[in-house]
Amino acid sequence: MAKRSAPEVNAGSMADIAFLLLIFFLVTTTIETDSGINRKLPPNEELEDPPIIKQKNIFTVVVNKNNQLLVEEELTDISDLRPLAVEFLDNGGGIDEEACNYCQGSKDPKSSDNPEKAIISLKNDRETSYKIYISVQNELVAAYNDLRDREFLRLFPNEYMSFVEANKKYSDPRTTPTEKARLKPLLSEVKIMFPQKLSEAEPSKNKS
């Protein structure tokens, strides 16, 4: 018989292809997770006798109700906040036991002694808008992260990653426990060098 018609396409393997695609998408799609700036609030109880902190070890950032930024008593643009904070933290103006041997700052005796003593004090008005507050928080965290990245790369050049990347790897649930145990001391060493000391004052009431 010479009756030729196109043969029926075998659809039996179609399901396999479909499952292959399904598995491909399952693996490659990352479900969107929320992310943000983590903060820890101070406990509610008041300290009996607050430690005395030298004025030169405090870096004051004030945001007023018109969203203007006052850094160390001077009106500043937000783009200058990060370099100013880095300069303050990295100053290392202390002498003898307060000296900081890894700081690369200008060693100005009028600025902070060492990163361990340096405190950033953030104060905002009740009328400050939230997005400006977040921007300021973001820049201050960025200043710490910049310095931690620098020290991490200097101390552990064989890791081929920065502090932020290492921290991300550490908190990733896919990282193996052995790798986590290896990263943990490295991370905490750098964290001790530049501890995040960010103090927030209660917002001032708006005196209009």
């Binding site: 010479a2 009756k3 030729r4 018609s5 196109a6 029926e8 396409v9 659809a11 179609m14 399901a15 292809i17 479909a18 499952f19 695609l21 399904l22 998408f25 399952l26 799609t29 479900i31 969107e32 997770t33 929320d34 992310s35 943000g36 700036i37 983590n38 903060r39 820890k40 609030l41 101070p42 406990p43 509610n44 937000i78 783009s79 905002n124 008005d125 009740r126 009328e127 400050t128 808008s129 939230y130 997005k131 400006i132 507050y133 977040i134 921007s135 928080q137 973001n138 820049e139 965290v141 960025a142 992260n145 921290n167 991300k168 908190s171 209660e202 917002p203």
Partner: protein
């Protein structure tokens, strides 16, 4: 004679639709997986501010959410345009935050109760006064781990 007879009706054979269910199921599964379920409907404006120094939020069962912002347009008539707090599915006052945190904490498993994070999803236009009030309430009930949930982007996006 019949050898040269033209084949009559050259129409195409019907395309098999046997695999159609598979494709549909595949799409279904894909959307099932990729969709994030929102437990509570948002009743406030929630344009989050942008930040780039962000960390990922913990697993979902360790997080409680507090929303704040101006009420959305359909609620403005009833609740006004002043920024408000939303807990679960209803508007709340600052005083109710502490009770909400305690209730949320009690509903979690014992081993998670100490590692809970409070995610603050606050609209960028909100004033800091409201947020400080929330933070004071959180301190009272010892919910100290907080996360300011943000979009990912440079700070310049926050300044118009």
């Amino acid at each position: 004679m019949s050898k040269f007879k033209k084949k009559k009706g050259g129409e195409l054979p019907a395309i098999s639709t046997a695999s159609l269910p598979d494709i549909v199921f595949m799409l279904l599964f894909f959307f099932m997986v990729a969709t994030v379920m929102r437990d509570s409907t948002l009743m406030v404006k929630n344009q989050l501010p942008a930040a780039d120094q962000v960390q990922k939020l913990d697993k979902k069962d360790r997080v409680m959410y507090i929303y704040a912002g101006e009420p959305s347009s359909r609620y403005i008539d009833k609740y006004g345009s002043q920024p408000r707090i939303q807990l679960n599915d209803k508007f709340a006052s600052v005083g109710e935050v502490a009770a909400f945190v305690l209730a949320e904490r009690a509903s979690k498993r014992q081993e998670l109760q100490n590692v809970l994070t409070t995610a603050l999803k606050v609209d960028g236009e909100t004033k800091m006064g409201l947020i400080s009030d929330i933070k004071q309430e959180l301190r009272k009930v010892n919910a100290l781990k907080i996360n300011y949930t943000t979009r990912i982007g440079g700070y310049s996006q926050n300044i118009d």
